[in-house]
């Protein structure tokens, strides 16, 4: 069983890394890019015996309390059997 956690800066929080990446890909000739936002992605291997609900609750807690800073970031959790 595996959890995937995506952490992104909230909209409105400046992302200078995203801006620099956008600038670089535009220098390479890519066009039509409105915005680039950089985030973080975590893969967490879970005990196979957990049921889906338990797994989601514990990973949500992890994402809220450790993996993200709720002042500046949002998170999204996916559980895969």
């Amino acid at each position: 069983m595996k959890a995937k956690v995506y952490v992104n800066l909230k909209s409105g929080v400046l992302d200078p890394q995203g801006k620099a990446i956008q600038h670089s890909v535009e220098l390479l000739g890519f066009t039509g890019i409105a915005d680039v936002r950089q985030g973080k992605y975590f893969e967490i291997a879970l005990d196979e015996n957990l049921d889906n609900q338990q797994a989601r609750e514990s990973v949500e807690k992890m994402a809220r309390e450790v993996l993200s800073n709720p002042i500046i970031e949002d998170y999204r959790v996916e559980i895969e059997a």
Partner: protein, 232 residues
Amino acid sequence: MKFGVIVFPGSNCDHDAYHVISKHVGQPVDFIWHRETDLSTYDAVIIPGGFSYGDYLRAGALARFSPVMNSVKKFAESGRFVLGICNGFQILCEAGLLPGALIRNRDLHFICDHVYVRVETSDSPFTNEIQAGSVLRIPIAHAEGNYVCDDHTLDELKQEGRIVFRYCDKDGAITEAANPNGSRENIAGICNRERNVLGLMPHPERACEDLLGSSDGRDIFRSLAATLAAAV
């Protein structure tokens, strides 16, 4: 009065803080390893600069879970004094002892430079020996010093006079050009509502000797010492 300097794996300004307390403040000071939990003998603790836990995840994010931080929380709740410098400020924000967060500098660079900060209030245990409006020349050295907070928090900080330091030019004017990292409203340092916890990005402990380019930082430690002397 007794000071403690907390040491995390990756702290690197711990010796500077220790040096300033022992040499310039002239008071007893201990290093406190982050696994310690007993702070009962201290009157003030300094959370020094550096790269605790290698800045993994987010600057200050993992240090918050070190055993000593629960004790620091209780220490602060008991009204004793906590000074977080640079990474120490980041840790205090991550731990919820101060509001807001410190994100990547506006221009991405790690900035190591002398800057000017204006003391916004004398009404803090860390600035009571400094006249409000004074300009201090103090170095910064950080990549994540861009202070952000929501509008509500900003209003509270302003109304309660909790913005203690703001980046300014050498004459004390708060300008965008004098803002090194994009911090909201040029904020360089804030305190909590009870005013006994202060976090700031500049390094006053690196500005305590003329030989190092400035001794303006001493006023901050002198203020804290005066507060403690009056309290003890």
